[in-house]
Amino acid sequence: MTSPIPGVSLAGFTGVSAISGAASTPAASSTSGSDFASVLASSLDSLQSTQSKADNLATQAATGDLQDVSDYMIASNEASLATEMVVSIKNQAVSAFNEIMRMQV
């Protein structure tokens, strides 16, 4: 899942970094790279690990190895929140890109 979207990040979102750098928000400076593409890539990585954790717990629930019911519900809740977050970051990025594409020359 991660492989196609970093391809998108290479396509020219690095240009957005000037905007996020100008804003100099604490959230942007706390990440390793302040540009938008690396923020998107790192949030995709964390989404991947959250989803695989929820998947493991779902397997445990199916095989009867699950120790704690709340564990699985919390993990799936976290996975759905993280998915929602990454998707909305992606949507904002695409709409910014479209906005620039519509610019009159």
């Binding site: 964390s46 704690d68 709340s70 919390i74 809740n77 976290e78 929140l81 929602e84 977050m85």
Partner: protein, 134 residues
């Protein structure tokens, strides 16, 4: 995950209260278990909990261990019990049922409170994700 910390912290609270519920149910289920006067009676189980890196690090609570109550018990005269000694006495655990019921209520309410925290935190995070969509 650092982003949705409130969920995992409340999850640790749910786990600790579930262990407490387990201990209380163990105590109540053995409240009428007799034993020989030469042996220890069933020992009450008490869960020790501990804060995790309070104010720094992960936060939350963890179960540090289990403490056992006294095995002394109370001696009851029951000559027809197969476990009775020469004087007709057996031992019953010295656990107070009223005490256990109070602990049961506290553990159950604590569990519910942590579940509510997870619900509310999810709502809050969802509200944050709606920012800028209007």
């Amino acid at each position: 995950m650092a982003l949705f910390d409130a969920l995992s912290i409340a999850g640790s609270g749910m786990l600790a209260h579930r262990k407490w519920l387990d201990a209380v149910s163990d105590n109540i289920s053995n409240i009428n278990t007799p034993s020989r006067t030469s042996e220890d009676a069933f020992k009450e189980r008490m869960v020790d909990v501990q804060a995790v890196n309070y104010g720094q690090g992960d936060g939350g609570v963890k179960v540090a261990g289990v403490t056992f109550g006294s095995g002394e018990g109370r001696v009851v005269y029951e000559p027809d019990n197969p476990l009775a000694d020469a004087n007709g006495n057996v031992k019953y655990p010295d656990i107070d049922l009223g005490d256990q019921m109070a602990e049961l209520m506290m553990a159950q309410r604590g569990y519910q409170a942590n579940a509510t925290v997870i619900d509310r935190a999810t709502d809050a995070y969802k509200a944050a994700l709606q920012l800028g969509k209007g």
